[in-house]
Structure formats: C-alpha cells, structure tokens
C-alpha cells in the first residue's frame, strides 16, 4: 500500500494539515526566514566577510530544520500512541484490517507530518543560503539526506518508546531522552574508526563536507582515516556519508521490526523482539562494533599510536557482550501472563527444564554466535600485539555467562511473583545486594584483587572481567570453586521459577461452562 493511500497517514494529514493552519505556518516561516537572512547578511556586511553569509545562513536554516524535525517530530511520535491509548481510540485501530506494518508506517510518517511541512517551509531559506554560499548541490542534497534519514530513525525510536510505555507518564520523555543521547553527538569524535553518528553531521557536511576519502599509513604501516569524512570499515577507508546512511537504515530496520512486532499486540503481551530476533540484534551490534573498532591505541609512554593489545580487545568485547547478553536476557523474561499461558498449554508434566531455565538457551546461543564473530575477526589478525591465555579467556567467558544466567534466573523468578512492579522490585533488591556486598567486602579489605577470595567472587562475579594473570595462577582453586557455586545459584533460582510456573497450572482443569453441553443453538 503506497504511503499516500495509507489510511493512518491520511488521517494524520487531514487532522494536522488544515488550510488555515498551513497558511499561517507559511506566513510566519517566510517572515522569520527573511528576518534571519537579513540579520545574517547585515552582520557579515558589517564585518566585511560578505561571501560567508550564505554558508552561515544555510547552516542556520538547516539547523532549525533539524531541530524542528528531530525534536518536534520526535515528540509528536512519542505522544502519538500514548495519546491514542488515552483517548481510547487505539483499540479501534487494532481491530481494523490494517496490517502492523501499514499501521506503523502510517504513524511513523503521519504523526510528524506537520513538522515535515514546517521543515519544508524553511527549505527556501536553506537553498538561498546554499546558492549565496556557493555550496555544491551534491553536498547540500547529501546533508539533507542524512538529516532526513537520521530524523526518521529518531521518530521510529520515539514511536517505539510510545508503543512500549502503555501507561505513558514521565517514563516516556525520560526514556526518549536516554535513547536519543547517542544521536546528539557532534562531529569530531575520534574514539573509533567511525565518525559522528548524529544527524547534525548532515548540516556539517552540507557546509564543509568533502567527497574525498582520505586514509594514510602510520609509522608502523597501519592505515588510519585522515579526514573528518572518512571512516575505517574493517580497516578499509570508506566515505562517511554512505556509512552513516547504511547505519541509519539498518538501525531503522531493527526499530521497525520491534514496532511491527508490537503494534497490534495486547499491552499485557508486549515483547520487544522474538528470541531469534534478539540474537540477531546482538550479532548486528557486534558486527558494527567489529567493523569500526580501531586496532590502534595511543601509547602514553611512547607518545605514539601502537597496534592494540589482544587482551584489551578481548576485554572490550567481553565487557560489551556481557552487557548486551544481560540486556537481551532481560528483554526475553516472561511475564505472569505469558507464563500462565505456557502453564495452560503444557500443563505440569509437560513443563521441562528448558522452561525452568528460560531464557538461558537463547542467551547461550547468542553468546556462541558472538564468540564466533569476534573470534573470526581477531583470532588470525597479525596486527594485534601481545598474547592471550586461551584457558583463562575461556574460563572468563564461562564464568561471566554463568553470572549473567544467575541474575537472569533470579529476575525471571522474581518477575513471576505477585506484585504491582515485580521487575522494578527485583532490580532494587539486586542493586541493594550488590551495593551491600561492595560495602562489606571493602570494609574487610577484600576487594583488592590480590586478596580475591571465594567470598568476593560469589557475590561479585564481575571481577572476572579483568583478572590479573598472576592472581589467576595463584588463586585458580578459588576461581574453579566459584564457578560451580554460580551454577548452583542458577539452579536454585531456576527451581524457584519452575515452582512458580507449576503453581499456575490449572489444578484439575477448568469446568466447562454450561454452554458446552447445550450451545446457544445448533447450527
């Protein structure tokens, strides 16, 4: 179904684009554009830098367009489904024949439609600035393209937040802000081989971008990006514009998957991704990290960049992935409603150990996929320095995975307890447990890695993220004892979880209602 025939898009268009409102908008933006243009021109004329006024005017106009589209459109999307739920109109959309993808696209492009119009009204100002500033038309179009695709990603993000916050309230803007943060990054970051990821890069590219891809070799013969508009993808120079657009489009695809999956779902049944999709997302994030991870690191002592150490790379990816797997596991936790359905479907004898240890199987599959990806990228790289003790690394991975599964089993058990906010309470309890552990162990002076012992590793397994090799050798028995202890805790929480599901199994099956014996009327 084309967008202009999408009923939800048409509804938004009709509601927001009444002629009187449009005429007023055009008049006000024209006036403001003229006044701003005049002011910029006058300022530059005064300072005798007249040729630069056009570029400044264009940058200002594009910046305002970005703000209008990003902030205005983002807020419109963030409120769209929340408002529908508040007005009780959302249910009527859910019972139409519109497919989830049609409803999603209708809202994604329909909710911010007025802000697209507002941005379009500012386009003549940006064009005047571009012409006056002698800006190349390819730069101008590429800049606009980045801004547009970037803001669509922001809109999709906002729509997802709106969809996944059934109760609305302050959680919506707070979550939106946190999620938007990475997009607000300004150009010039040199932390990785990827440059700015914010849509603001579009404005900057229109003003001062170059289409040349520049890479140089350092004193050790390693290539590095020598321009603000060049990224290193798997060690090869690629222009930033296509990289950014592809990144935006893939991110948009992931957001659309989550939106489409949940758009017509019952609010008690929302689920960010399916287990398989979650594993795919973790792999995708790893692929992006692997593509742009810089293989050089700055050596303070030598005052020069050197190839990265294997241990540093391993620790980085281990840390990132433990966090990702933790997040993946949390999104897969089953609610009481889902568990109750499972209990009805399988009944007590049908419940197996896989149900008890949920979502461990998918976390382990994701871990295996990610390990294979990282291994393939770095295992045979001749660029990296130093050696990695494979035995210790394997143990670290297993130990930390056990710790993740321990916490997830705990969360899953707690989530099935009767409470208004079971997940929140589980997080608070676990946070309090970690905090108290740190306080007590610090008081005994046991948090020094030289004196790590079983009592430290059991409550705080995260110490395994970066073990001291010497300490590992010295305290190997302690580590080897801590691992089965983590697994035993996993088993304990899995058992408690199993009991909770088993409680939900109907004891003797429901009695069928009267109509089962004598239906309303036989057909």
């Amino acid at each position: 179904m084309p967008l202009w025939e999408n009923p939800e898009f048409i509804r938004n268009f009709r509601a927001q684009m009444r002629p009187a409102r449009l005429v007023g908008t055009v008049a006000i933006t024209a006036l403001l554009s003229w006044a701003t243009g005049y002011a910029v021109h006058a300022t530059f004329a005064e300072n005798q830098h007249l040729p630069d006024w056009g570029k400044t005017f264009m940058t200002t106009a594009l910046g305002v367009q970005l703000a209008v589209l990003g902030v205005g459109g983002g807020v419109a999307c963030a409120l769209s489904i929340y408002r529908e739920r508040e007005r009780n109109t959302y249910d009527f959309q859910r019972v139409t024949r519109l497919s989830p993808i049609e409803l999603t696209l209708g809202k994604l492009f329909g909710a911010p439609i007025y802000f697209y119009f507002l941005a379009a009204c500012l386009l003549p100002a940006a064009l005047v600035g571009a012409v006056a500033g002698h800006i190349g038309w390819t730069n101008f179009l590429a800049g606009l393209g980045i801004m547009l695709v970037g803001t669509i990603v922001v809109h999709a993000l906002a729509l997802l937040v709106s969809l996944l916050s059934p109760r609305g309230g302050t959680g919506v803007p707070a979550a939106l802000f946190v999620l938007l943060l990475p997009f607000l990054a300004l150009p010039g970051q040199d932390q990785s081989d990827l440059k700015s990821t914010g849509p603001w890069a579009g404005v900057m590219f229109a003003a001062e971008g170059s289409w040349q891809t520049q890479a140089k070799l350092d004193w050790q013969g390693m290539p590095y990006a020598a321009s603000k508009w060049t990224d290193m993808v798997f060690g090869r120079p690629v222009h930033h514009v296509p990289v950014l657009v592809i990144l935006y489009l893939t991110l948009l695809a992931w957001l659309l998957v989550a939106l489409v999956r949940n758009m017509k779902r019952d609010t008690a049944d929302l689920e960010l991704y399916s287990p398989a999709q979650s594993v795919g997302l973790v792999c995708y994030i790893n692929l992006v990290l692997l593509a742009f991870y810089t293989l050089r690191e700055w050596d303070m002592a030598r005052g020069a960049s050197l190839p990265a150490q294997r241990a540093t790379v391993f620790t980085f990816f281990l840390g990132i992935n433990i966090a990702l797997l933790y997040f993946l596991g949390v999104t897969l936790l089953r609610s009481r409603d889902q568990s109750r359905r499972l209990a009805h479907e399988t009944a007590a004898p049908g419940l197996g150990w896989r149900d008890a240890v949920w979502p461990a199987s998918y976390v382990l599959v994701a871990a295996a996929c990610v390990a294979a990806l990282v291994w393939t990228r770095f295992a045979f790289s001749s660029v990296l320095r130093g050696n990695l003790d494979l035995g210790v690394s394997a143990f670290q991975i297993v130990f930390l995975l056990a710790a993740v599964l321990r916490d997830l089993s705990y969360f899953q058990w707690m989530k099935l307890r009767r409470s208004r906010y079971p997940s929140l309470i589980a997080f608070v309890f676990l946070g309090a447990f970690y905090l108290c552990s740190v306080i007590f162990l610090s008081a005994f002076g046991w948090l020094d890695e030289k004196t790590f012992n079983f009592l430290v590793l059991l409550p705080l397994p995260w110490a395994a993220l970066a073990p001291n090799p010497l300490q590992w050798v010295a305290q190997r028995p302690v580590w080897l004892l801590a691992l089965p202890a983590q697994l035993a805790l996993c088993a304990l929480f899995a058992w408690l979880h199993y009991r909770k599901i088993a409680e939900m199994v109907p004891a003797h099956g429901h009695e069928q209602s009267h109509a089962a014996v004598s239906p309303a009327t036989q057909s």
């Binding site: 007005r87 019972v95 359905r341 009805h344 429901h510 069928q512 109509a515």
Partner: protein, 316 residues
C-alpha cells in the same frame, strides 16, 4: 459463525491478593448466523473480557475464537473482515470531520476504493448523521458520537457485530433508535453479539441469550428455551367474574395443583405442574364445575426475575 472453544482468561487477583481471577472459564459457545445473542451478567462477570477476546484485542490464556472459520488470534487481519466492534466508551477523533472519520475506517477495513465514497454517504445516512456530514466531531452530542461509533463498526458491512454495552449512557429516544437500527442490521443478515445491562432490551431484541457470572455461563440458548428451562412449575392466576364459588377449595382438590393462595374473594394463584394443554383442560373443568372464569394469567417470571434468581441476587 462465532465459535468459542474452551475460551479462558485468567488474571491475578487485584490488590496483590492470592488466587486467580477467572474472567472467562473455559467457555464453549456457538452462535449461528442471523442470531442476536445477548450476553448479560453483573459487573465483573467477564462479559467485556470475553468480547475483547472475541475481537482480538485481548489474548486468551487458553482456548480460541473463530469467526467464519477464521481463527481470530492466528489470522487477525482476515478475521477483522467479518467483525465490526463497538465498545462501551465513545472514543472518536475529535479533530476530524464526520465523513473523514467514517472514510478512515472504510479505508482501514480495506474496502474497494471505488466503493468507499458511496458507502460512507450511505452509512452516514443510515445512522442519521447526514446533516452533520461536514461537521467536526468535537461538536457532536454524546448520542451522535455513539451513532458515529456504530457507523464505524458497520462501514465495511461486517456479517458479525460485537457490541459492548451499546446503549449505556444513551437517553430513551436514542436507545429506541439504536434498537431499531440493530434489528434492521439483523434483518439485513448481520449476526449480532451484544453485552448489556438492560434486561428489557434483551427480551425485546435478542433471539438467544447467555447469562454469565464469575466467568461461567450459567444459562445459554434461545431466549424461550432458557426461560422455559429455568422456569420450573408454572404459576397461574385465575380470576372469577363474581365471588360465591369456592375457588381455593376446588383448586386444592385438582391433581398437579399446589401452593394455592387466595388473592381476594374471586381470585387465586397456584403452582401447576402441567403444560399449556393441561392449563387449558383445568380451566375447562373449572367452567364446567360452575366457576365463572373471566381471566386466566400466566404469572411466570420475566427475564429480569429469572436473571435475578439465577445470579443469586447480585446487583446489575
């Protein structure tokens, strides 16, 4: 047409209490084509939950709903082709005009584009809003908004209508109009499933009925059958033209008659175990015995009384 198979919905007890709240308990129900099925029950009986599961808004804990042999949960978009849904709240897009609103749903139900414009005007006319076609919805009265809701539910000509308390909050005139409209739609072939509190409406328009309480269907079937089954021995009243005949004594001596009470010098009520033919025979014998009968009435229960008795006196 509409088939509920072991449909179950469980919730946690509100307020953190232990136990499970069973809003729909393994419901099995078959509503054939052309019925107007009324589902009645007290607040919290599970009527709305059942209806919301039927139209795919709520996912059942167990069981399934099929409409026209299409599983509502597995193939929601296909099932919606056959369903029109009206909830108990008036929720409309106030920033749209009447025709825009109806057209939005005509498009959303994927009607053929060439038919949309004609059908929109037709439906607006059917619900009596032609004078308000180009008005903004924000300016409509409550009754008009309800009629607009009905227009939304029927715009795609669904063979099945699911209506949740459609008459709640309407004035008597609007209620009457709504009943007429529902009967017209039924005559045109629509199967209607309606939940309601207004028991007189059930007797007036429903062809079959279900009485629901605490997730169970207490009684279910054609209205007459339900009344008959639930009725038990009938209560009959007889009035004589003039006093002088020993009516109470005569009745007390007849077979099948019990619980005779005198309602005045020439009136009596009694419980009779016979059927209609037995009642006629009893009256013939009374006349033959010299009783000047001038009135016989079946003093049985109304649906409202039957409902009150079945639901253990819970309030509606």
């Amino acid at each position: 047409m509409i088939h509920l198979e072991r449909l179950t919905k469980e919730y946690d007890m509100p307020g953190g209490k232990s136990g499970t709240l069973v809003a729909a308990d393994s419901l099995d129900l078959l509503v054939p084509k052309g019925e107007i099925f009324g589902l009645v029950g007290p607040n919290g009986a599970g009527k709305t939950t059942t209806l919301r599961m039927m139209c795919g808004l709520l996912r059942p804990t167990a069981g399934r709903v099929t409409v026209h042999e299409v599983d509502v949960e597995r193939h929601p978009e296909d099932a919606q082709r056959y369903l029109g849904y009206l909830s108990d709240f008036f929720s409309v897009y106030e920033d749209l005009k009447v025709w825009e609103y109806v057209e939005f749903f005509a498009r959303a139900y994927k009607m053929p584009p060439g038919q949309i414009s004609k059908r929109v005007d037709e439906v607006i006319h059917e619900v009596g809003l032609e004078g308000k076609r180009d008005a903004f919805i924000a300016g409509l009265s409550r009754g008009m908004k309800q009629r607009l809701g009905i227009a939304r539910a029927v715009v795609h000509n669904p063979p099945v209508l699911l209506l949740d308390e459609p008459a709640s909050g309407l004035d008597p005139k609007a209620r009457h109009e709504l009943k007429q409209l529902l009967m017209e739609l039924n005559r045109a072939g629509a199967t209607i499933f309606v939940t309601t509190h207004i028991l007189s409406d059930v007797e007036e328009i429903c062809t079959s009925v279900g009485i629901m309480e605490k997730g169970h269907l207490l009684r279910c079937g054609p209205l007459e059958t339900v009344m008959q089954e639930a009725r038990g021995p009938r209560r009959v009243g007889i009035r004589l033209a003039a006093p002088g005949f020993a009516l109470v004594q005569w009745l007390g001596a007849q077979p099948g008659v019990s619980g005779v009470t005198s309602a005045g010098a020439a009136e009596a009520e009694f419980t009779f175990s016979g059927d209609d033919a037995g009642t006629a025979e009893l009256v013939r014998q009374l006349v033959a015995a010299g009783g000047p009968v001038c009135g016989v009435q079946d003093a049985g229960e109304t649906f409202e009384q039957l409902y009150a008795r079945l639901s253990n006196g819970e309030t509606m």
